[in-house]
């Protein structure tokens, strides 16, 4: 897998700072699971986090707090729930996403939006949406712009838009200046994980009319 499109530095920085919403953080973690380069970048930023922790203004912790922690050291630890499924070899599903969808993209309940376009919504807090989008070859998503950011990770297939060509493992990290209309150019369905901070803004009348229907 050759990855050509990576995370924006500002996005990665916020992920490491713990300042990304749940959905965008899921896309970032999933890309990191697939991308050596961004993992290295991430570790560097984490080292900056460590340096900032080392130099932060201190808040006093009392000896009684220490005593109560010491009391608990030998308590039996309830093993952390095995909520995280074991990674499946050669799976197209990155580990962080697996705890949301299991081990198969085919077994999910896909909701048809229009012919050739399906979605599977993921539970996520916040104003934005987090979903898997599945688009048949030759189909296009509606042209749209966004308030806030949109992060898209390609899990299967490929598409092209005004920004470039995206295939498996690539991440499209778009800010609010961009209007785009992705067109699927793989010979099989394209499946991607998308997270936005806010609901999308459609730039065509059709999109504006259908938006409430599709919740899209």
């Amino acid at each position: 897998m050759t990855i050509n499109h990576h995370l924006d530095e500002a996005t990665l920085f916020s992920y490491v700072a713990g300042a990304l919403g749940q959905g965008p953080a899921l896309v970032v973690a999933s890309h990191l699971a697939m991308c050596n380069l961004c993992r290295q970048r991430c570790r560097e930023l984490e080292a900056i986090g460590g340096a900032l922790l080392e130099n932060i203004a201190l808040a006093a912790v009392s000896d009684s707090t220490l005593a109560s922690v010491l009391d608990r050291l030998d308590q039996d630890v309830i093993p952390e729930a095995a909520a995280r499924p074991a990674p499946v070899a050669n799976s197209e599903i990155p580990a962080p996403l697996a705890s949301y969808v299991g081990d198969s993209l085919e077994d999910l309940s896909w909701k048809k939006l229009v012919p050739g376009v399906w979605v599977h919504d993921l539970p996520s807090q916040g104003k934005g949406i987090t979903r898997l989008l599945r688009v048949a070859p030759g189909k296009a998503a509606l042209p749209h712009s966004h308030r806030g950011s949109e992060l898209t990770l390609l899990l299967r297939g490929s598409y092209s838009d005004e920004v470039g060509r995206f295939s498996t493992g690539d991440v499209a990290d778009l800010d609010d200046q961009i209007t785009h209309q992705p067109l699927v150019d793989s010979d099989h369905d394209c499946i991607c994980l998308i997270a936005t901070e806010y609901p999308l803004r459609y730039t065509t009348l059709f999109g504006k009319i259908t938006q409430p229907l599709f919740g899209f």
């Binding site: 924006d8 713990g18 986090g49 050291l73 962080p96």
Partner: protein, 206 residues
């Protein structure tokens, strides 16, 4: 989260440790954390606790949580340090880096109902193919260099770094509070990040 003034402590929040001479350098904290996994020595844990717990608590309070919550989460974080030391690899990251990610995840999980998506927290020692970010000896000086670099950032860059790292605010939130476009927030973070990384790498060429 409590409402805090946006990033107004940009220059005061990163204070060099006053009694530095009496403290073990960062390198030793990393060696001690690794040692703890093997020895399970309570005295060693107490030393790590005295060093890291006021930092963890300071960090959590900066995120806007109450002192009571910060106290509780700090206890949980230090218990996790004790329970998870076997996952720590000093060749991969400084103790402060490992403990930072631990405290960050605990805090976010507490603030949200969902777990913060992690890419590999439990496998720090499994990716043998990846080179360490820094050699241990370099970790000793790097945190002071990064602190210095933050103080040298232009105010508007330091501000977004503080709001992002210490207050946990999203790009849009920062844009709203500072009344600047989202793109400006991102470009300030990119510029600042590049400078901090150079400090981390010990590159003094400006």
């Amino acid at each position: 989260m409590q409402d805090q003034p946006p990033g107004d402590e940009a220059l005061s929040v990163v204070a060099l440790r006053a009694e530095k001479a009496s403290e073990a350098p960062v390198k030793d904290w990393s060696a001690m954390l690794a040692e703890l996994a093997i020895s399970r020595d309570r005295q060693l844990f107490i030393r790590l606790f005295r060093h890291f717990s006021p930092r963890i608590k300071g960090y959590i309070m900066k995120l806007g949580l109450t002192e009571a919550t910060a106290e509780e989460l700090t206890q949980e974080a230090m218990l996790s340090v004790w329970r998870k030391t076997h996952l720590y690899d000093p060749g991969k990251a400084a103790a402060s880096t490992w403990i930072y990610t631990l405290a960050r995840n605990l805090s976010i999980d507490w603030m949200r109902k969902q777990k913060y998506p992690e890419y590999d927290l439990d496998s720090w020692h499994e990716e043998a193919g990846e080179p360490p970010v820094l050699e241990l000896a370099e970790q000793a000086v790097m945190s002071d260099q990064v602190a210095m670099a933050i103080r040298q950032l232009p105010d508007n860059q330091a501000q977004v770094i503080i709001m992002s790292f210490y207050e946990g605010r999203s790009h849009s939130e920062i844009a709203d509070r500072l009344s600047i476009p989202l793109g400006s927030v991102k470009s300030r973070i990119r510029l600042a990040s590049e400078k901090l990384k150079q400090a981390l790498r010990g590159n003094h060429d400006h």
